[in-house]
């Protein structure tokens, strides 16, 4: 039998259901695995084994009483450090929140608890979710389990690495410009970002409010669908959340929707900057779909080249305002050198934030400044509208869009830390999806010659998660890349 910690939710749910396995056994297996490998991977900022085992016991008791809550009951789900969990520290991998403990659960956490999931540990990330390599964490650098010299991607690098290393059965990440999909691709696991509004942002420490979404990492598309289904829905605490306008019975969709589909391939996503191995791999994936009877359509998303600049205006503007609350007055880092209100602000923020966060706050402050607002922020919002228009036009003729998730496989630690622009381009294929508010998933599509994972991105229509899952599921089941695990 395969190691428990590499099994899927569906496999484990069956074992739990049949009584062959208890949640405590499963949790203990995951704790043991984590204790064994996390020294190398460094995916977790912290975890509380006793608390996790107590949740597992509660799950076993529910099950014994005939009150099991569904496929997630008793399954350990790792949590990115940007999501609030009651009575746990929420540091966003920043010194700024070193001592902050949340008095409440994020809505997605509440919903996972209601589904019986075990809330498991705090996963490393780029500080305040700003970065593409998890090297911006103020606490530790997470390694990619496939090659410990390389980065796991980011910002949800801890969530992706923990999945790849078998330190959780599923994890949660957040995706503002690719922060779930890019690390999922680089770590060879499934990662998906829902349609904007599908999952409540309440309890997600905001980076860029109009782009942020919570989403799952999982071993399989089906597992990701199970986790998403537990979290979605309109939340009265988040005015931007909405009840899905599409089908949300994803398990049924995976069974029923078999294609063949009409799939779009945007030429703009295979140009300059793409790694040849990645390009060849994704072309093979497209060919596979063609071989399955799908119609492949060359499409154009003409404003794609504007996505990165637009993103770095919109996201930084919102971030500059969202992160203003970290000022040293109450719960955030307070400088001991502060002498008055002004130095309390400046010194606390100067000491508490890392370089990338400061860079983005400065950028965002600049683009919102009087006299520059129209030229930058307002204009960026107009271009954002054009980018969405490109997608809407494409979706008139296709069911989904296939692209590489990341232009390159995992790169070496330190390789891009001194070149922010090169780092920003890691998200070149994922960013436009956030700007358009669409759902997208990264599914493992093979490996480079040196054994690094590659991810295929499937972009769906707004609230078209069911179809998008089905398309990704078909590819996954036709390849079984997910059954390969890294040697640690």
């Amino acid at each position: 039998m395969q190691d428990l910690h590499f099994k899927t939710i569906t496999e484990l749910a069956a074992l739990l259901e049949s009584g062959e396995l208890t949640s405590v056994q499963l949790m203990q297996a995951v704790i043991d695995r984590t204790a064994a490998v996390d020294e190398q991977v460094k995916a977790f900022l912290s975890y509380d084994a006793d608390d996790a085992l107590a949740q597992a016991r509660a799950s076993d008791e529910r099950r014994a009483a005939g009150q099991a809550l569904g496929p997630l009951d008793g399954i350990p789900v790792g949590i990115k450090d940007v999501l609030a969990v009651k009575d746990q520290s929420v540091r966003c991998a920043s010194k700024m929140l070193e001592n902050y403990v949340s008095p409440f659960d994020a809505t997605c956490i509440t919903k996972l608890r209601q589904a019986g999931a075990i809330i498991w540990g705090r996963l490393n990330m780029d500080e305040f979710a700003m970065g593409s390599s998890t090297e911006n964490s103020a606490y530790q650098t997470t390694a990619n389990p496939w090659n410990l010299e390389t980065i796991p991607g980011g910002s949800s690098g801890g969530s992706a690495a923990a999945m790849a290393a078998g330190e959780a059965i599923a994890t949660l990440g957040t995706d503002t410009g690719g922060s779930i999909r890019q690390p999922a691709a680089l770590c060879g696991v499934v990662g998906m970002k829902p349609t904007y509004g599908l999952v409540s942002r309440y309890g997600l420490v905001a980076f860029a409010s109009s782009l942020d979404q919570v989403g799952p990492f999982a071993r399989t598309v089906e597992d990701a669908a199970i986790v998403l289904e537990a979290m979605l829905g309109k939340d009265l605490k988040d005015s931007t959340s909405i009840e899905s306008l599409g089908e949300t019975n994803y398990a049924a969709a995976l069974k029923d929707k078999k294609g063949p589909w009409t799939l779009g391939v945007p030429q703009e996503f295979f140009g300059e900057g793409i790694d040849p191995e990645v390009k060849a791999n994704i072309e093979q994936a497209v060919d596979w779909y063609r071989g399955q009877g799908c119609t492949i359509v060359d499409i154009s998303l003409p404003h794609s080249d504007l996505a990165v600049p637009v993103y770095y205006i919109v996201a930084t503007a919102e971030a500059s305002s969202n992160l203003a609350r970290f000022d040293g007055v109450r719960y955030s880092h307070r400088s001991e050198a502060a002498k008055d209100a002004l130095t309390l602000f400046t010194k606390s923020r100067g000491e508490g934030f890392g370089d990338e966060v400061k860079r983005r706050i400065i950028l965002g402050t600049y683009v919102l400044s009087s006299g520059y607002y129209d030229a930058y922020y307002k204009r960026a919002q107009k271009v954002r509208r054009l980018i969405l228009g490109d997608f809407e036009k494409a979706f008139e003729q296709v069911d989904a869009i296939l692209t590489p998730t990341s232009p390159t496989p995992a790169f070496k630690r330190g390789e891009r830390t001194d070149d922010p622009l090169a780092m920003y381009l890691s998200d070149i294929y994922t960013i436009s999806v956030n700007l358009a508010g669409l759902p997208a998933i990264s599914v493992p599509s093979g490996f480079t010659e040196s054994g690094l994972p590659i991810g295929l991105q499937v972009i769906g229509k707004a609230f078209g998660e069911a179809e998008m899952f089905a398309i990704a599921h078909a590819f996954e089941q036709g390849h079984d890349y997910y059954k390969t695990t890294p040697k640690l």
Binding site: S102, S239, S321, R325, Y373
Partner: protein
């Protein structure tokens, strides 16, 4: 050269709602510091604002009361600035799309005669928008304390056009505005409790010039007398500046209540760049037109309209209407009393004089904001009292005693009259005997009357009244005395 002043006011009014603007935390004045907060009020990481629709409706109602256009969409912006009383370091407000546009307020300038109607004119409004109140700072010797109870309370900011030219007009405006707001049930407008706050913009220009001079803004005007004093001080200060050949500097000034002077707070160059941008956490809300019309239909009659109606419909003098009409409760009490007995002048006098006097005697809050509802009297009490007088059952003299009694006990006047045997005597036989005694006992008065001094009859009435303990019908007494003297 002679100068004239141009004045514009910005008034902040706390809107009376059960809960705060963007969360369910309650608000009341005077609670222990930091007891009326929650995670949203404190801007804890991961929290999101959720609109309180009651605040929007009340603000719209205020706008309708002041003759504004109500915007079709209610949109929110972030005003970014760092200050320790601001939990998020941005304030949710409405920058470019205020909820209410235009409008005007009818004011009455005090007439030098005081008991005659003053001149009326209309002051134009620019806009009313909604925003959230910040917390409150208290500066101690070495520390500054923050109370976040007030943070997040809905505030309506009413901005006038520069449409006033004297402190008297500003005072008249504030009084009229206050009455309108209290009438509409939007706020109690207690300036001591910070429910109504005022900033004043003042500039001077040569008499007759159409071009406005450089303005200064005066902050911290927390009573109507402060507004008056600060404007007068500023007009004189600017006149001195201009007359000495200097230029007025555009700046924000702070009024020092204790010293009675203002000093510069910051110049135009030091003004904040608020970096406004649309709040990505709140969706713009469309304001249902039917709802606006429903709110319009619920509006109370405006105080000056009521005053004019009272003068025409009931023939009441200015001295009475000017007491009754600014107070909605009092004026409605008066009209309700008319339903028991239609004797407008008599009842108006009882309400405007006797009732107010008794209320003021028992009030801890001074003459303003007297609450009729706080006493035991109902409109039926006063109506019945008037009826007893008009029907000759009791004299006005006796009515005073009945009034005091019913105010103290809440008993109905007819019951009091019955119980105490206060019915006025119409027994001509007894009274005639007493009259003859009086005539016989005061020859001087009789002669004066005979000489044409009608008032001399009063001297004869006194002893009769005394002997009947005031129960003699005065009108009947008058006639009887005259008849007996004339008969000789």
């Amino acid at each position: 050269m002679d100068y004239e002043a141009t004045i514009g006011l910005e008034i902040h009014v706390q809107i009376k709602t059960r809960t705060k603007m963007f969360t369910a935390a309650p608000y009341e004045y005077g609670a222990a510091p930091n007891t009326l907060t929650d995670a949203v009020v404190l801007g804890l990481p991961g929290t999101l604002p959720v609109l309180n629709h009651a605040a929007i409706e009340k603000c719209a109602q205020l706008g309708l009361m002041l003759g504004c256009e109500i915007a079709e969409v209610c949109k929110w912006d972030r005003k970014n600035y760092f200050y320790p009383d601001s939990p998020k370091n941005y304030q949710l407000t409405q920058n470019d799309q205020p909820l209410c546009l235009g409008g005007e307020v009818e004011i009455e300038l005090a007439d030098p005669a005081r008991n005659a109607a003053g001149e009326h004119r209309w002051v134009k409004l620019n806009r009313i928008h909604l925003e959230e109140d910040p917390g409150k700072l208290t500066h101690e010797a070495f520390d500054t304390l923050i109370d976040f109870n007030r943070a997040g309370v809905p505030l309506a900011e009413i901005v006038t056009e520069p449409d006033m030219s004297s402190s008297a007009e500003a005072v008249a405006f504030l009084n009229a505005l206050r009455n309108l707001i209290i009438y509409a049930g939007i706020s109690d407008c207690d300036m001591e409790k910070g429910q109504l706050r005022c900033d004043a913009n003042v500039s001077l220009k040569p008499v007759g010039s159409t071009e406005l001079g450089t303005r200064t803004e005066m902050k911290n005007l927390n009573s109507i007398s402060n507004v008056k004093a600060a404007i007068e001080y500023e007009i004189e200060r600017q006149r001195d500046v201009l007359e000495s050949g200097n230029l007025v500097v555009q700046e924000t000034r702070r009024w020092d209540v204790d010293q009675g002077i203002s000093f510069s707070l910051r110049s135009k160059e030091e003004a904040h760049d608020y970096r406004y941008f649309p709040d990505p956490d709140l969706m713009p809300v469309e304001f249902d037109r039917n709802r606006v019309e429903a709110l319009r239909a619920e509006l109370p009659e405006r105080p000056f309209d009521k005053q004019r109606r009272f003068e025409q419909e009931y023939g009441l003098p200015y001295t009475v209407t000017t007491v009754l009409c600014p107070n909605r409760e009092l004026s409605e009490f008066f009209e309700a009393a008319l339903e028991t007995h239609h004797s407008p002048k008599l009842i108006a006098n009882y309400v405007a004089n006797d009732l107010l006097r008794e209320l003021a005697a028992g009030s801890e809050h001074g003459a303003q904001n007297l609450k009729v509802s706080a006493c035991q009297l109902t409109p039926a009490h006063i109506g019945t009292l008037a009826k007893l007088i008009d029907e000759g059952v009791i004299s006005k003299q006796i009515a005073k005693e009945v009034f005091t009694e019913m105010f103290a006990t809440g008993e109905l006047p007819d019951a009091i009259v019955e119980k105490k045997g206060l019915k006025q005597s119409n027994d001509t036989g007894e009274i005639e005997a007493l009259c003859r005694e009086a005539i016989a006992g005061n020859e001087k008065a009789v002669n004066q009357y005979k000489d044409g001094n009608e008032k001399a009859i009063n001297a004869l009435k006194g002893p009769v009244m005394k002997a009947t303990k005031g129960k003699a019908n005065p009108a009947m007494l008058d006639e009887l005395l005259k008849k007996l003297i004339d008969e000789g």
